[in-house]
């Protein structure tokens, strides 16, 4: 189990989601992906997609208008 980060700061929807989908596909089971976002709608569609895929997801507001999404594959 290892941790990976994905920087999506400044990316407009749906780019963060597509990047997350691609990155997560390359990871192994139980790996954790940390996605940094500052576009509020990515905060909705990334967790929704990941939960649909059956992954565990947590969201944390790390700074004003900056969030991190934790996805466990």
């Amino acid at each position: 189990m290892s941790e990976y980060t994905l920087d999506c700061l400044g990316e407009i929807c749906p780019v963060p989601l597509i990047k997350t989908q691609k990155k997560l596909a390359a990871l192994n089971k139980n790996d954790i992906l940390i996605v940094s976002i500052d576009h509020s709608c990515a905060m909705k569609n990334i967790p929704e997609w990941a939960r649909k895929e059956g992954h565990n997801v947590e969201i944390e507001e790390i700074n004003d208008g900056e969030w991190e999404i934790y996805i466990e594959k």
Partner: protein
């Protein structure tokens, strides 16, 4: 397994350097109320528009409501939650508009609302707007909401949105003369109020059922 994720989130939470935004919130709220009173004293109608604008903007921001995502996410992620939300919103608006327009029609007043001709212009415009909003990351309301929220990159979208609107307004005479049909279609006057409402809500309910089925189908859990 979920435990490790929440402890990771908790560990990273401690690093954050968030500012207390409460004072700013109070200042902005006071300004909103102050402007509302100022407008009400001068142009009462503008105060009502101001209040509705603030309420809609607040709802849009807090709910992460997004017309773009409602059309895009079914294709991209298989999620139809926003599609259903938009259909519900159109349904609620339809009830309100039906009441307002019916009361106007009954008392012989001109029917309020943007009743415009349907034709190839609708399809051309819809396709252009659809492609544009997915690339730009937001429709009109979504872009305004995100600029207000502080996502500054979408100011570029806003600038070109204004340029596009002005360009469209400038050439609107040409579109009216060459593309847009002359006759306006208002279903209730054409086929009666009850059939028009049955068609409207039949479509909305049908689309909702389809969206619901599609959303469940792509569920992998």
């Amino acid at each position: 397994m979920n435990q490790s994720l929440s402890s990771l989130a908790a560990a990273r939470r401690n690093h954050k350097t968030k500012h207390n935004q409460l004072p700013w919130g109070i200042v902005v709220l006071a300004a909103i109320i102050g402007i509302a009173f100022f407008l009400f004293a001068n142009v009462p109608q503008a105060a009502i528009m101001w209040a509705f604008g603030i309420i809609i903007g607040f709802t849009l921001q807090r709910s992460r409501f997004c017309f773009t995502a409602s059309m895009r996410d079914p294709v991209l992620t298989g999620s139809t939650s926003l599609t259903k939300a938009v259909l519900l919103a159109i349904g609620v608006a339809s009830i309100g508009f039906a009441y307002i327009q019916h009361s106007a029609a009954v008392s012989g007043l001109p029917i309020p609302g943007n009743i415009s001709p349907v034709g190839p212009n609708t399809a051309i415009g819809a396709a252009m707007f659809g492609i544009g909003m997915v690339i730009a990351g937001g429709c009109a309301s979504g872009t305004l909401m995100r600029v207000g929220e502080g996502f500054l990159i979408q100011i570029i979208t806003l600038i070109f949105f204004i340029i596009g609107s002005l360009w469209g307004a400038h050439d609107f005479g040409w579109w009216t003369a060459n593309i847009i049909p002359k006759t306006k279609i208002f279903l209730p006057t054409l086929i009666g109020w009850i059939p028009a409402l049955v068609i409207q809500f039949g479509f909305l309910i049908g689309l909702y059922v389809l969206a619901n089925k599609y959303g469940k189908r792509s569920d992998k859990i």
